[in-house]
């Protein structure tokens, strides 16, 4: 009789809470469409791993399928790398090439990463973990996962959930920060449209150049940037359309599916239901606020010297959350002045943010071990 009730006897209230959290993630994915590609598998993985005895992880000394996936794809860092190839194949840097000056907003809006690392250190996290938490500010899920895999495997679950949740909450977070930091007059600034011809050779050469340069400046970042740029080269070369489409679709989908459910498997009650998780979720929000603020302040700083002023909202679009951030800026610009079209500049800054976040992530990977 005892054996028949083994599932009930091995169940704890903590596991019940985690299953509830898993259900919330699934609800957010389906009902609210918050990053469903990731939150749905993470939510289901969370349920699986918190069912009695957690046989998906281990049973009678043998690894369960989620443990096998974790060892194969997370411990080896393979899944995030494959995701980067897929993301690279989806990236289009053309808007950035048309207005390369916007590239600097892609750096300024990474301020949140480093500010959050400081705040996380103040809250008592060790340097490696603080760095992984700060990377939530990259507003780039795969980068956050990759750095967390390297530096803070135990916190992979909360860091991933925070990264993807706040990315989907960009339309709620950014307008509040933008409004609090800019005047109505600033938000109404119109910017001239610069539309340069972009040679195909630049689109093809750029991923190779980026890989070479970053490879010399921060060799530790090569897996991250190299795989992103490899995916981009597949797309831009125009001669391997089949591979490019495979990277964008099949590879991206399969890896996202496996990555999501495997991240869910790290969300066991004893690891997740801690004060640290709450701190990480709070710090994720801090990171996004600092990112937005960093971009806006940089635009305001440039305006001190510029004759043709920059709309400071463009600075906020320098985060990597593409295309949500650019959309937020365009919508706010139209709300203030129906004739103000900032979409080109905002997309340009947003694409630059995608590159900036990976570079910042690569630098964190390169510099943190040196300081340990």
């Amino acid at each position: 009789m005892k054996e028949l009730l083994i599932g009930f006897n091995a169940f704890s209230w903590q596991s019940a809470i985690m299953i509830f959290i898993g259900l919330i993630l699934i609800w957010l994915a389906i009902k609210k469409e918050y990053e469903p590609l990731l939150l749905l598998p993470i939510g289901f993985g969370t349920i699986l791993v918190n069912l009695p005895l957690s046989v998906v992880l281990e049973h009678e000394g043998a690894s369960g399928f989620l443990k096998i996936l974790f060892d194969a794809g997370i411990t080896t860092e393979l899944f995030p790398i494959l995701i980067f190839i897929a993301v690279g194949a989806m990236c289009d840097f053309t808007p950035m090439f048309k207005q390369p000056i916007m590239m600097f907003f892609g750096v300024a809006a990474q301020f949140g990463i480093f500010a959050t690392i400081i705040v996380a250190s103040l809250l008592g996290f060790d340097f490696k973990t603080a760095s992984s938490i700060g990377i939530i500010g990259a507003a780039d899920g795969p980068t956050a996962i990759y750095v967390a895999t390297r530096f803070a495997k135990d916190y992979l679950g909360p860091i991933s959930v925070a990264a993807y949740s706040y990315m989907s909450l960009v339309p709620l977070i950014q307008p509040i920060v933008i409004r609090s930091m800019t005047t109505k007059k600033e938000r109404r600034i119109r910017m001239a449209k610069i539309d340069k011809n972009v040679p195909a050779s630049l689109r093809i050469g750029f991923p190779v150049i980026v890989t070479l340069i970053t490879g010399f400046i921060a060799p530790m970042s090569v897996p991250l940037i190299g795989s992103l740029m490899f995916g981009n080269l597949l797309k831009e070369s125009g001669v391997v359309e089949r591979l490019s489409k495979t990277a964008q679709n099949e590879l991206g989908s399969i890896t996202t599916l496996l990555l999501g459910i495997t991240i869910g498997s790290t969300m066991q009650a004893e690891k997740f239901l801690t004060i640290s998780t709450l701190k990480i979720l709070g710090l994720g929000l801090v990171a996004f606020i600092f990112d937005t603020a960093g971009g806006i302040l940089f635009a305001k700083f440039l305006n001190i010297f510029l004759k043709d002023k920059i709309n400071p909202m463009i600075g906020a679009a320098g985060i990597s959350a593409f295309p949500m951030s650019a959309r937020v800026v365009q919508k706010m610009a139209i709300d203030e002045d129906p004739g103000n079209f900032l979409i080109m500049q905002a997309v340009s800054a947003n694409v630059s943010g995608q590159l900036g976040s990976v570079i910042a992530g690569g630098l964190v990977l390169a510099l943190v071990p040196i300081l340990l």
Partner: protein, 54 residues
Amino acid sequence: MQDIIQFIKNESALVKSLFLMIIAIPITFLVQLIFYLIIHAWISFFNKSKGKKG
């Protein structure tokens, strides 16, 4: 530089974080600046050679 890094290594996570911010943001700017100059030069060269052909 080696002395500074050695000094930082023995400091707290907070000092390390501050140091990381101080060096990482300028390096990120520098890297983007290099990319900016390359893109700018590439497009200028392309437009110039296109203009000559025209």
